[in-house]
Amino acid sequence: MLTGNRTIRLAAALTIGIALAIAAAVSSDRIPVLDDLLASSWVPAVILSVLLVGAAVGIALVLPRSRPTSGESTGPEPVIARPTIPEVRRKPAIISIHGLEAQAGCTSLAFNLAVELAAAGLVDGRRPRPICVVRAGPLSSTVGLDPKPFTDYCRSHMAAVGDEVIELAERHPSGCEVLCVADGVLDGHRLRLLSSVLRRFYDVVILDCPPGDRWLIDSAFDASEVSLLVGLPSDESAKAVLPWSDSSWRYGLDARFGLIVNRVSARTSIPELLLAAFANLALIPEDAAAGNALELPWVLRPESRAGRAITELAARLVPDVAAKESSHAA
């Protein structure tokens, strides 16, 4: 399809060029100025053309184009603007992540952010210890994360969350910890209690917030310093972002929101409405080689475009904790 477009485009340019040349030749008889102009300009034109072709040939011979290495994506690269996401300076940093539609990539993003900070971040000369509260789902089940212990804990502790809750979090080899939570188990009150415990033990708390429960969403927003809304370049996300945008502008809270558009590719366009919804925006490119983020996080794959984008995002989002010079960073 793309090759077809290219052929049509080049053929059209050639056709227009030939047509222009014929038209100029025919009309030069009647328009003496044009005749004079052509007579005086063809020599410089030929010389310049030869020089240009020479330059192109020289460059092509001296600087051969680099080819994608094995594992590197061969798809066209989308233009990914540098992220403009609000900074979290508070310690510990608490960040809530909300999806604008199903399968938008909240869990993957939350986990990758946590791994990035744990693997490459630095706090007082040591690696930080982030925790990622993720929703139970297909991603978590593939790596055997079980939401049951936390569910049981909540059933047995109806109105309190003690320090022992951190024992339920699983440690990832990167140093970050993951607490898997089934949908419907957390409510606004419990989230407040949980975050007050987590903030005493961890440097960064990332909450992958399930949709639907307004109280829970509000509590997550209150508990966090920055809320990231994760959407896809689709009309559904554009529609879903509107209420968030309206509320944030109405209450003057837009500086606390960041919109993440996930799976951006060169071939799809992002709805204008989505881009205009928030001033703070970050794009995560689509990654053909991404796979399950919980198995091998994207930020640990050198060839991953999404991993690079998340590294940049982390550096911008939590500058005090994130790596200052990462091997992923440009």
């Binding site: 080049l10 300009s41 240009l52 092509a60 066209p76 140093g175 005090d320 091997s327």
Partner: protein, 445 residues
């Protein structure tokens, strides 16, 4: 030769030039594409080079089509930019092998085990990943005389205490994950450390931050000199605040540059910080202040050893008083009253003005100062509550009432204080006020 043919050839030459110059594809975000190539964020200007066959003529034809499609100037510029990007990519690939992420990825893929991962990280002098967070176990007090137990605790604390001045560290807002440990460690040294003994040292700096800023060394106050130069005051006080909030108080130089001069290019930010630090060291500030400034290429910090700092003292006293849960010794009560008097007023007054003059208030420093103001406020309220509890325990409810009223005014959500105030009102026969406070704070009857 007919005239039309000659004119046609002439026109063809001009059209060929135009076709060679003008791109025939969409060139949206061209500037961003070049910028990304230059910084290595992007690998190719447009599409990656797809695998081609071995036929040389065919490949030359494909290259010619690329040139024609992009136009020669764009093609040449793109190729040069791609070359730079490829170099950066190769450099990054070269660094990747030694990075903690690569080692971690190898571990996750099963190529190395955890012990090997830690060994390799250590051999590269890289920090190890954080260990699993563990909740501190609260040990039950053995059933022995309280007096003996306190003596043993004090002895254990004295043995564990490192040499030198520990004033600053213990009172700092500890890093997350160590909070519970710090709390346990900090308990129960009977009386506060002597604040006067170390001051015989001429290098000892006494820092007063409440109500007005004072930096006293050997009887000389250096604060007016510092505060006259707002920009230098910002640097010194910012590092001071970070030193209070974090152990060691190391501040990444890049982050500080962004804080100091937000919105400028990194080069200009670094230059501005370098120039101001030169000013500080070379002429503008007394040695008493600059000798505590420790800078290197990556970090800045303020050495807060051999200092007495009023906010640190405030927190220490709050902790000592809080640990007593009731009656205080007369020395501790007197010290608590003295600290309350000394810390009257706002923490770091005039900070907003200094910050606005330096970076237009666009940095995150205000948040740190706000945090410390909250910490100080809470500590003051805790001390007031402890003093009030002391008065109640000594059957002096009238003395407890003003303290509790003042504390509740600052932190009305403190139910423990409201309960004490109600008790004090009841004991002094002010039943209506007791009922009022009960209603206001929804206390149980």
């Amino acid at each position: 030769m007919p005239h039309e043919l000659i004119a046609g050839l002439e026109a063809s030459a001009v059209v060929l030039l135009v076709l060679l110059l003008v791109p025939k594809l969409g060139v949206d975000h061209l500037r961003a594409r070049f910028s990304d190539l230059h910084s290595g964020r992007r690998r190719w200007l447009f599409d990656p080079l797809l695998p081609r066959g071995d036929k040389r003529a065919w490949n030359v034809a494909l290259d010619a089509v690329d040139v024609f499609e992009q136009g020669v100037p764009l093609y040449v510029a793109g190729r040069l930019a791609e070359q730079r990007s490829a170099q950066l990519y190769l450099e990054r690939q070269g660094r990747w092998g030694d990075s903690p992420k690569a080692l971690l990825a190898a571990h996750l893929k099963g190529a190395i085990n955890e012990a090997e991962l830690h060994g390799q990280l250590k051999s590269r002098e890289l920090p190890l990943p954080a260990t699993k967070a563990v909740a501190a176990k609260v040990e039950a007090r053995p059933l022995i005389s309280v007096k003996w137990w306190l003596e043993r605790q004090a002895m254990a604390h004295a043995m564990a205490k490192p040499n030198g001045d520990g004033l600053g560290k213990r009172a700092r807002v500890g890093p997350p994950g160590e909070g519970t440990k710090d709390e346990n460690e900090a308990e129960d040294t009977e009386e506060a450390e002597s604040a006067t003994a170390p001051r015989a040292d001429p290098t000892y700096l006494r820092i007063r931050t409440f109500g007005r800023i004072e930096l006293l060394q050997a009887g000389l106050d250096h604060a007016p000199e510092l505060l006259r130069k707002k920009v230098l005051a910002f640097i010194w006080l910012y590092l001071f605040v970070r030193g209070l909030l974090e152990p060691e108080g190391r501040v990444d130089r890049g982050a500080f540059c962004e804080e100091f001069a937000p919105g400028l290019s990194p080069e200009r930010q670094r230059k501005r910080v370098r120039d101001r630090l030169d000013d500080m060291f070379n002429r503008d500030l007394p040695t008493a202040l600059t000798s505590r400034l420790i800078t290197d290429r990556t970090q800045l910090r303020l050495d807060l050893a051999k200092c007495s700092i009023d906010i640190v003292r405030l927190q220490e006293i709050a902790r000592h008083c809080g640990a007593k849960q009731g009656m205080l010794s007369s020395d501790l009560a007197a010290e608590a009253n003295r600290v309350l008097d000394e810390t009257e007023g706002e923490f770091l007054p005039g900070w907003e003005e200094i910050e606005t003059e330096t970076n237009g208030g666009r940095g995150g420093a205000a948040e740190y100062v706000r945090t410390l103001r909250q910490v100080a406020d809470t500590a003051r309220v805790d001390i007031m509550g402890a003093l009030a509890a002391n008065h109640l325990a000594r059957q002096e409810p009238r003395k407890a009432i003003p303290l509790l009223e003042q504390a509740l005014e600052r932190q009305p959500e403190r139910e423990d204080l409201a309960r004490r105030l109600r008790a004090a009102y009841l004991e002094t026969g002010q039943h209506l006020r007791a009922i009022e406070i009960q209603k206001d704070h929804a206390l149980d009857a």
